[in-house]
Symmetry: C2
Subunit: 319 residues, 2 copies
């Protein structure tokens, strides 16, 4: 029946001509549970504004609710526990400017709720556990980010959130982390390989930070996409705040490692932010203050600078 | 950014090559509330088997739940009350053999529930209020059917169902019918024009049927698709049971009107059914008894014959 498909394509195209779908810039933010995905994406979404950015969480593609999962031999991290094929389909639709009716998983109740209409803005941020799991899903993104905190820090974040925000006790969260470990290793962490930018918030290993020092950030800027020319920003007197180091990954591939120091004086970091902001061709002004917000209400300059680097890529792709 | 779309298409195609999506035969059964859509489609689905047939109800694309609709100036019949664009998108996906995550409207509770995965079988029956509302939706179907009972009969069916099965009182159902009338006229009945087959169950007007006589059926077989050659079935001595009449529609277009008489003796009708069955190239056997079942548990030979005509089209398109 090729005639019907032809007719379908012709009519679909004729319809599209009336309102041509604009292809949005697609960014993936992948990482394990409590790796800081929402903290990273939230600032970008706020800065660009909800009218321009559409954020989706691909954990909404969970196939089972919490109750059903209890009887299953795998956790929510397992691809079989998610509608991966539908996630791919929806990412393709968004990448070509089409709306989707997205499923909704309610983290609060653990239930699957009524789906919601999502129309892509100029930018689509897809964050979650498995956005980079398949080749087709990866092909949907212009920029792929993987959040890679050291496990002990992620555990602490996971426990803080589980106990504070979701009302579990510490042992419950620890048991859950234990239950998920094998699937993290099998399905979540392998996505790190496919990221254009790997982001690691951690203390600097070379020195002992005094208590209360914000975490530093290390960004692997892989040559899979064209990164901003930071030579002006990285002028000699800023090495204390930020510096770029040519490195090799474990697999031997060359990579740029951008180090952003949490111990640098805040005003120095903010100078760097302004310099990147200017290089983005943006007007000096307010929006920059929407970056760098941590979930606990505190401010992190390394987070703000990381967000600016990602913002660079988003704006660059949209040009 | 055309490069990304190219890459997407290439990877999507490479993935599809591994498991080529088979394009199903698509049939629409459109009609107003309580026009008999499920009765008509149910027999076909049972006969062909759930493994081969996928039935979806496009009323699942309701945008609002019953509670929300109370505050709105239109009823569930209005296109604005439905995700028509998503319905089109999902019909296109099904028509090209792709799965969908279909929204679910629960008629019992009036709420929107968690969506469900639908993988198209060899045949997809899409029944509901608005499957033929847009050009793109219509382009998805191989066979389009519109159910067109006289309004007084549909009202009786609607009241019977509303009172018996859904627990409303008669006046509530009548008020609802009243509230929906304008939108029926504006959006539901115009779909009749786009059907390949218009089905009307009604008493024969030329004579007074004794009480208890099953309804007759009149099928407009429009020349928009190739209809079965019924010349053998319509041999002279069967005129009492079934006959074909060349006619003109109100707009002047030529049409074949197939009359199937409810007052014909059951054995005569069943002879006709067997003749059509044989012409379909199917083995004589049991499955034929799954046709003709009314919602009240009774049997209607005109319904069975109507279903056989539609079955002819479905099998014909699949060859």
């Amino acid at each position: 029946m090729p005639d019907r498909v032809l007719r379908l394509q012709r009519i679909a195209r004729a319809t599209a001509v009336r309102a041509p779908a604009r292809r949005p810039v697609m960014i993936a933010i992948a990482g394990d549970s409590a790796a800081g995905k929402t903290t990273l994406s939230g600032g970008l979404a706020t800065l660009l504004g909800p009218g321009r950015v559409t954020t989706i969480c691909v954990d909404d593609y969970h196939r089972y609710d919490r109750e059903e999962r209890r009887k299953l031999p795998f956790t929510a991290l397992h691809p079989d526990c998610n509608y991966i094929g539908i996630m791919e389909q929806h990412l393709q639709l968004l990448a070509t400017g089409e709306p989707i009716l997205k499923p909704v998983y309610d983290h609060r109740t653990g239930q699957l709720a009524r789906p919601e209409l999502v129309c892509p803005g100029d930018f689509v941020i897809a964050e979650g556990l498995l956005p980079l799991h398949t080749k087709l899903a990866r092909a949907c993104f212009d920029i792929a980010v993987y959040l890679d905190p050291p496990e002990e820090i992620r555990r602490r974040w996971k426990i803080d959130r589980g106990v504070g925000k979701r009302g579990y006790d510490k042992h419950q969260v620890e048991a859950e982390l234990q239950r998920r470990e094998q699937e993290s290793a099998d399905f979540i962490r392998p996505q790190r390989e496919y990221a254009d930018v790997v982001v690691r918030f951690a203390p600097i290993s070379e020195r002992e930070d005094p208590p209360g020092t914000p975490l530093s950030a290390k960004l692997l800027l892989r040559p899979t996409i064209r990164h901003p020319d930071l030579s002006k920003v990285l002028a000699g007197d800023r090495r204390w705040t930020i510096h770029l180091k040519l490195d090799r990954e474990e697999n031997g591939r060359p990579v740029d490692a951008l180090h952003i120091h949490g111990y640098a004086p805040r005003e120095d970091s903010q100078e760097v932010e302004k310099a990147i902001w200017a290089q983005l061709g943006l007007e000096p002004g307010d929006p920059i203050h929407t970056l760098g917000h941590l979930a606990n209400g505190e401010r992190s300059e390394p987070l703000a600078i990381t967000q600016l680097i990602l913002l660079y890529h988003m704006l660059d792709e949209s040009r």
